[in-house]
Amino acid sequence: MSIAPIVRTVEVKATPARAFELFAARMAAWWPRGKTIGKKPHVTVVMEPHAGGRWFERDAEGTETHWGKVLAWEPPGRLLLAWQINSQWAFDPDFLTEVELTFAPAAGGGTLVTLEHRDLERFGADAAAHAATLDGGWPTLLGGFAQYADTQT
């Protein structure tokens, strides 16, 4: 079973190099509040600037909660991340989906930022693997969706 990747674009005023820097190095400043997975609110989000670098959030007490890792660090044009947050919204080193960012010059001097989150069928396999446990993965992810759906009505 293959699921179509999520592809989203947004245009920003900054140059590709600056947009790449703001995206990667200043993630804590713009990442939506409450959309992190640590037990306590994050004070920073760290993306180590090289292939193989870690990607994690850190709370006020210094506790680090991993999100994934950097697979390719190619400023100003491309950033490839491993999203290792599974269907239970927990970090799982054995779970890996790819998130690729590209930063392309736009007509007006800004940058077209394209995000692609792929390998989504792995969420299904992961959810099925958790389905036999008490807090089954499938109900968890559908529960999360239900909360989202309720905000849309």
């Binding site: 989203r8 005023k13 900054a14 947009a19 969420f123 959810a127 099925a128 499938w138 109900p139």
Partner: protein, 110 residues
């Protein structure tokens, strides 16, 4: 609301141990009723009944294969996950744009 009702149905559908075992097997490999019943300590009609519940909950789907029906994981379950994740990225990229443009406005262009 219809979608969240489905989510509640899914939760209830997996509340039964035998049903979870059937779901796991279907998730691991598309199977016919007979194959599923062979590995489980329940009758074939009982397996069919459980599959009906799983199907109504949107967790498995069936396709005909000659005289048999093959049950597999319903992609709609994953579609729900995808929708949720998609909405997450939309709000994250919107937030990124707001932040990046604010920074650009503060930096003197010339």
């Amino acid at each position: 609301m219809a979608k969240s009702q489905t989510a509640l149905d899914s939760f209830a559908a997996l509340g039964d141990g035998t049903r979870r075992a059937i779901f796991e097997r279907v998730a691991a490999r598309p199977s016919a009723v007979g194959e599923l019943a062979r590995g489980l300590p329940v009758s074939r009609p009982a397996v069919s009944q459980h599959l009906r519940v799983l199907k109504e909950a949107g967790l498995v789907s069936e396709t005909p294969d000659g005289t048999r029906r093959i049950y597999r994981l319903d992609p709609r379950g994953i579609a729900a996950m995808r929708d949720w994740l998609d909405a997450h990225w939309v709000s994250a990229l919107d937030a990124f744009k707001d932040f990046a443009d604010e920074q650009a406005d503060q930096e003197t262009p010339e």
